[in-house]
Amino acid sequence: MTRTGLVACAGCALLVVGAAYLRDPPWAGQITSGLRPWEKDRRLGTPFRWTAGRASFFVPREARVMTLPMRAGFPGPNGGPVTVSVSVDDRWLADIELGQPEEWVRTPLPLPGHATSRRFRRVDLHVSRTYVGVFILGVQTGEIELDRTR
């Protein structure tokens, strides 16, 4: 085999191995999108992150129930509630209403039982209203609680 052929073979092999690795990367669980850095609630000391109008994060596939504490932070249009639509791996899961801006809402969400070959499931949030300032703020999200036993 010529040197060019060898390089081409090595390149193809690298591509296949890379693609196999990236289909289910072990670090995906740490990936988030649309979430601002962690802050602490001045009154309660609770850690939270603001979302934008949309946000995404990952949970392990073994998790059966996910509780994501959420708080509106400020009211929706005309003082009404804020709705957060939750989907998992592009399938709608639930709509959660956040009524009082200062109240944390903890809704346990049973995660879909269908099998997945990946280590993590992707959770996407869509917020019904945002606050427009220097940055765009959606809702506050706390630390996720996962139940893997049910």
Binding site: L22, R23, G53, R54, R122, V132, G133, V134
Partner: protein
């Protein structure tokens, strides 16, 4: 005349040590490894900002709008991400009269980033990451595109310089331009900004212009037209650099008539160049028309920004502690000296280069926000480094013929380059204020690290 100019003096290639030869040949790869290592260090820190931020956000925004939201109006992305608005820092606003989203930055960077964003999008689908335009792969594809274009620009610059200068001069010039200025910073830390892209395009313009005047081929004209369009699409005011094309090798006023004749003789190629440039730039004009109902528009006008041509901040732009080009990149003083001692090919391209550099400097210093916001050094001059490099090389070439000066120039260049690298790392570690640095602040923070 041009054939004579194109053949580099062979004696300069004699007595070259293998180390210098190897260095000149592999410098771009070495810079690439350093750039990628710096990038990994910067963006794996827990306190790291996301690569797509500040101006980089505005430049990038078109790419996900086109690829993921299939919407050139920027409406769909705003709806999905921000409930129909854009964050205040972006300065994206609804144009008075049409009520359409107007992004003050043009589409060129997004066009250049697009192949990288396509790969990021495929990987995002493959890895089941959020296909939102701003998740992991998109962030790094956009920033690494800046690094890749910078390396491409450096490779093109090396090609141009090696035709006329010795390997040692070429090597010193490339090292000084890369690390003695803020170019490396804008390729690695702020790779989503326009400057690394503009640097590459101006280097390509210089190379193609030189080739076109020396040995015109059809592809030179077509590629020149395409590069010219990309230059304007990336930063409209860089259209000034296109003056290099008709004026290349013109050394005196009296030659202008002859140059017009030459251009007329090459009218076919000039027409092809203009047609390609017009076609490639047309999407931006169409976008302006759709957004503002005008074909040409100053998108900064609603922000109250413009030029003050009669009162340029020349001292501030060149020498101030806030942003002075020569204060933060003193090695470029040698490029200015190079304009006075340039010989041969560098002398022949001096007049058009000086005209373009002077006009560009006046333009930069006349911008109301002459500090160009938060930045390391004066970022607006990065785009012209591909031209300044020619005269830096000319100075080093002249120095190499004056052995008594050689150690002094080598020492000063090394110190200036090392200082620039140290100050860049200080900026990375957030030691420097991002703007309005005073002499007192500079002195108190000089060579300090957290």
């Amino acid at each position: 005349m041009h054939k004579k100019m194109r053949s580099p003096p062979r004696r300069l290639h004699a007595n070259v040590t293998p180390v210098i030869k190897w260095g000149a040949r592999h410098l771009v790869a070495i810079v690439g490894v350093c750039g990628f290592a710096g990038y990994l260090w910067l963006f794996t820190r827990s306190s790291a900002d996301e690569p797509i931020r500040s101006d980089g956000y505005n430049y990038y925004l078109y790419a996900p709008s086109w690829l993921i939201y299939h919407d050139p109006t920027l409406e769909a992305l705003a709806k999905d991400w921000y409930d129909g608005a854009y964050p205040g820092f972006s300065g994206i606003l609804r144009w008075p009269g049409t009520n359409r989203w107007s992004n003050r930055h043009p589409i060129g960077v997004a066009v250049l980033m697009f192949p990288f964003v396509i790969v990021a999008d495929l990987l995002t689908r493959w890895s089941n990451l959020p296909r939102d335009g701003f998740s992991f792969y998109y962030q790094h594809a956009a920033a690494l595109a800046g690094l890749a274009y910078f390396l491409a620009g450096l490779a093109v610059l090396r090609r141009t310089l090696s035709r006329y200068f010795s390997p040692a001069v070429t090597l010193w010039t490339l090292v000084a331009i890369t690390w003695g200025t803020n170019l490396f910073h804008y390729a690695v830390y702020d790779g989503t900004f326009s400057h690394a892209f503009s640097f590459a395009l101006i280097c390509a313009l210089v190379e193609l212009t030189d080739l076109w005047w020396a040995q015109p081929r059809r592809w030179h004209a077509v590629t020149l037209g395409f590069v010219a369009a990309l230059i304007v699409l990336t930063r409209h005011t860089n259209g000034l650099f296109l003056l290099l094309v008709p004026l290349w090798h013109v050394t005196a006023w009296r030659q202008l008539g002859g140059r017009i004749n030459e251009l007329w003789k090459r009218r076919g190629a000039v027409l092809a160049m203009a047609a390609v440039a017009a076609a490639a730039a047309a999407p931006q004009l169409v976008l302006y028309k759709a957004t503002t109902d005008r074909w040409l528009v100053n998108t900064y006008a609603p922000h109250g920004l413009g030029f003050t041509f009669l009162t340029p901040h020349l001292f501030g732009a060149f020498f101030s502690t806030q942003r002075g080009l020569f204060f933060w990149s003193p090695v470029l003083l040698f490029a200015v000296a190079g304009m006075f001692v340039a010989r041969g090919w560098a002398r022949q391209v001096l007049a058009p280069s000086a005209v373009v550099l002077a006009l560009n400097a006046w333009l930069v210093a006349s911008w109301m926000e002459w500090q160009y916001g938060a930045s390391y050094g004066h970022r607006a001059f990065i785009d012209s480094l591909g031209v300044l490099a020619v005269f830096l090389a000319a100075f080093f070439a002249w120095t190499s013929e004056h052995p008594r000066l050689l150690p002094w120039v080598a020492g000063a260049t090394t110190i200036a380059t090392a200082l620039s690298v140290v100050q860049m790392i200080q900026y990375w570690l957030r030691v420097w204020p991002v703007r309005d640095i005073t002499w007192a602040q500079y002195r108190s923070l000089f060579l300090t690290f957290p």
